[in-house]
């Protein structure tokens, strides 16, 4: 009887346990946590790109350093009303290892955003470039990887940091 109760209690605790992470990995990673980048932008875009880069670099196990021949390139241009404000595409890869990631920021939308919201878009795309996918389970305030510009956090959250550290 006691043994049965103990097993029941154990299963109850096990069932109630939920993982402390929510991050979703994209399936890509860099060969090394030392990754080069360039913010090939202008004005406040460059400032916010560097702010986003610094946060990922300081808060996670990756080290982002400037290069004129970078792994991650971030540019800004007007793509029109295509419904996305930022986009990250794999420029070069072999299997799941990436060698180049291209980030495009769509100024059609972001020109009217506040600096903070603009930084959120760039930081989100940098998260993709480091290997994170979208994370909506925590809601708009739980992850910078929330899939749309309704996010209310503009810096990597602990969950985002855990996600990147799980990769590198």
């Amino acid at each position: 009887m006691k043994k049965g109760l103990a097993i029941f209690a154990f299963l109850l605790v096990l069932g109630a346990w939920s993982p402390t992470f929510a991050y979703v990995l994209w399936g890509y990673k860099w060969a090394s946590p030392n990754i080069t980048y360039e913010c090939d932008m202008h004005g406040d875009y460059t400032t916010q790109c560097n702010n986003g880069k610094t946060e990922w670099s300081n808060w996670t196990d990756v080290n982002l350093s400037y290069s004129s021949n970078p792994g991650i390139t971030t540019t800004a241009g007007n793509y029109g009303n295509v419904s996305w404000s930022g986009l990250c595409s794999v420029g070069s890869s072999s299997g799941s290892t990436v060698y180049r990631m291209d980030i495009s920021i769509n100024t059609y939308y972001t020109d009217s955003y506040s600096s903070q919201k603009r930084k959120g878009v760039i930081t989100h795309e940098l998260g993709h470039a480091l290997g994170l996918s979208h994370e909506n389970r925590l809601g708009p305030g739980g992850s910078v990887m929330y899939d749309n510009d309704g996010r209310t956090v503009y810096s990597p959250t602990q969950d985002d940091i855990n996600g990147v550290n799980a990769i590198y």
């Binding site: 540019t75 007007n78 295509v82 986009l87 990250c88 794999v90 420029g91 899939d147």
Partner: protein, 185 residues
Amino acid sequence: MVKRIKRNAYTLMMTALGLLLVGGIYFSFVAPKEVEVGVSLDKQYSSVDEMKQEAQLIVEGTASTKQQGIRYQNMLFTVTDFHINKTIKGHADKKTIRILETGGFDGKNYLTVEGNKIMDKNQSYVLFLQKYQGSVTNQDAYVIIGAYQGKFAVDGNDISPAHKVAPAIAKLETKQALIKDIQDQ
């Protein structure tokens, strides 16, 4: 007799292994794959009504075989000619309109947005559209509301909403239910 069976079995086994190897190499290194691009959407639509309010044009029709890839500032876009069978909202000047989508076939892989490929040739769709405003193409074109959210593949009476849409949109299974949703609100 036994020798001959053994020899045949050996040849058969080696042929099967060879085919497996060639197939493995093809699917691993040669065959086109779906490659996701990571986007930040400007907006997630929560309902058909919300998309309807922002759509200038809602149509049912068929994607033609005419598709044109456009490389613009590092990113691939595709323009597809779309034949309108029925207009549900708004007015189109022509029976065939151009739809601009992000992604497409880059010669090696299919670039997708949230797992959504561009429209399939000869496939029927209901589309929620806005006039395209931008420089990717200088032709008259429309874009789909929410990149892919306003795109429903039609197969007879069945519809398939896009991947990664709001629950109220994802649950729609029939064309009648979609049309009712559009007309009710």
